[in-house]
């Protein structure tokens, strides 16, 4: 059956081509792996005209490079490619957490950039990359009047890409996330846990991610803590990190109460959209995670 297509599709091959297309057609929607766009109920057939720019052929977005300090991946690399290339760079705990995100057929389709740039959903990958202090290279394109387009790019920590409600801050057509840099931290400890499913549309999804280095005096150093509530919030607060650093492990029940109190006071204020069940789950997952830290220290 032949359709009169209401869709135009462009497939640029270089970043320069992509930039000029974005300037020419600012209303276009970017397609990375397509898993998010294609799962929208109104995806096909379209009732009105629509313009897409597919990023799958842009060579620069597929590059991978290693140094002893970090692994750098183009944003069009899939989660499965990340796992294949980073098996020696990532710590085993981080590797396992990423491999548990979803099943392989989906991991081979979901791109890192697509996952990080969803406008309103903070998936597991976002919280894992935020916790391991990954950085993203965001390219900004500005056009003023008839002047030539101005392009500048900036590396920024992944957690700074989102507001506390979990919304992606750079979702307008003039920004493109091009690369991700994951620091190599073989000595760090990483804890990840979650409740609820992303694919089955859970409104009560919560994931907790903690990364830290264990000092010799039972004090954890350089911790990062991240809670993701899918569509309802994204919590990555430096204040909680310093709060955790100040605690001496293994934690006593008094310390755990302090953590619960801190979170129950701060979370509803920082992420007002989270449900009461998500708050309860976040508290329990965090306390479980601190219990795991306790056990790690006692095993040392």
């Amino acid at each position: 059956m032949e359709y009169i297509s209401k869709v135009t599709l462009d497939r640029p091959r270089t970043l320069a081509e992509l930039t000029s297309m974005l300037i020419e057609k600012p209303e276009s929607e970017l397609i990375a792996g397509g898993t998010h766009i294609m799962s929208r109920p109104d995806y096909f057939p379209k009732s009105d005209f629509h313009s897409y720019i597919s990023l799958d052929k842009v060579q620069e977005l597929h590059r991978v490079s290693h140094t002893d300090k970090f692994l750098e991946l183009g944003s069009m690399q899939t989660i499965q490619n990340l796992l294949n290339t980073a098996s020696t760079t990532l710590s085993p705990d981080v590797y396992n957490a990423i491999s548990r995100i979803t099943s392989t057929p989906l991991k081979s389709k979901i791109t890192i950039g697509g996952s990080l740039c969803l406008a309103d959903s903070r998936t597991t990958l976002c919280s894992i990359l935020a916790a391991v202090k990954a950085e993203a290279d965001v390219r900004f394109i500005t056009v003023k009047g008839d002047k030539k387009a101005k392009i500048h790019s900036r590396w920024m920590p992944v957690y700074k890409l989102y507001d506390s409600n979990g919304r992606y801050l750079y979702s307008d057509a003039n920004t493109v996330l091009t690369r991700i840099r994951i620091p190599s931290a073989p000595n760090s400890t990483f804890i990840y846990d979650r409740v609820g499913s992303i694919t089955n549309g859970s409104d009560h999804f919560v994931s907790v991610t903690i990364e830290f280095t264990l000092g010799q005096t039972s004090i954890i150093t350089n911790p990062s803590f991240c809670l993701s509530f899918l569509k309802n919030g994204f919590y990555f607060v430096q204040g909680f990190d310093s709060f955790l650093s100040a605690l001496k492990f293994p934690l006593e029940s008094e310390d755990k109460k302090k953590i619960a109190l801190f979170l129950s006071k701060h979370l509803p204020r920082e992420c007002p959209a989270i449900t009461p069940l998500q708050l309860e789950r976040a508290l329990r997952l965090t306390l479980n995670a601190t219990e795991k830290v306790n056990r790690l220290i006692m095993d040392q």
Binding site: S5, V7, L9, G34, S39, F44, R100, T102, S103
Partner: protein, 180 residues
């Protein structure tokens, strides 16, 4: 847009909208392809197909990515040796998928078998007689459960699927991998 591809060994030239999902194309091109798969990516898992050797959900594959692709549905997969090994394991374990998901779950089990074999090869422990549980050094104990999460239908127990995967690996190891 014009798309040249191979579907179940047959060369096709299609004229499709670039955003059209593969499962819609297949339901027009392959008479036996299940049309019970309009979940739009929320993991019903019923539209699993093999595109260029990779197991993928047809509802999440747009037409513009199919130019030059080799697409294999259950129709042609069911004639392979791997499929016959899986059918034999169904009988031996006494458990098989329901009629709604038979095709897609068989394909998913095939993909798990191939992943287990790859993991074994990587770890250099390709030895006959090893069961799935002895492979824990290579694969996470929840590996099968996690891979099955892509499929919503719960007509089979995970423990049965684990046994089927282990049996199929065993059959294939006995044949020295010549049926790959």
């Amino acid at each position: 847009m014009k798309i040249q591809c191979v579907i179940d060994g047959e060369e096709k030239v299609l004229s499709e909208s670039p955003d059209k999902p593969l499962h819609k194309i297949l339901s027009e091109q392959v008479p036996s392809f299940s049309v019970n798969n309009n979940c739009l990516g929320s993991s019903c898992g019923n539209c699993l197909v093999i595109v260029n050797g990779a197991y993928t959900l047809a509802c999440l594959t747009p037409a513009f990515k199919l130019d030059g692709a080799n697409i294999q549905t259950y129709e042609s997969f069911s004639k392979t040796r791997l499929a016959r090994d899986i059918f034999r394991a169904y009988t031996e374990v006494g458990s098989h998928p329901c009629s709604q998901c038979y095709a897609s779950k068989t394909l998913l089990i095939a993909s798990i078998v191939l992943m287990v074999e790859k993991a074994d090869e990587l770890a250099g422990i390709l030895q006959a007689g090893r069961n799935l549980y002895q492979r824990k050094s290579v694969l996470d104990e929840n590996f099968v459960k996690q891979e099955m999460r892509i499929h919503k239908c719960v007509c089979m127990e995970i423990s049965h699927i684990e046994k089927i995967v282990a049996l199929v690996c065993e059959y294939r190891q006995r044949s020295n991998g010549i049926y790959k």
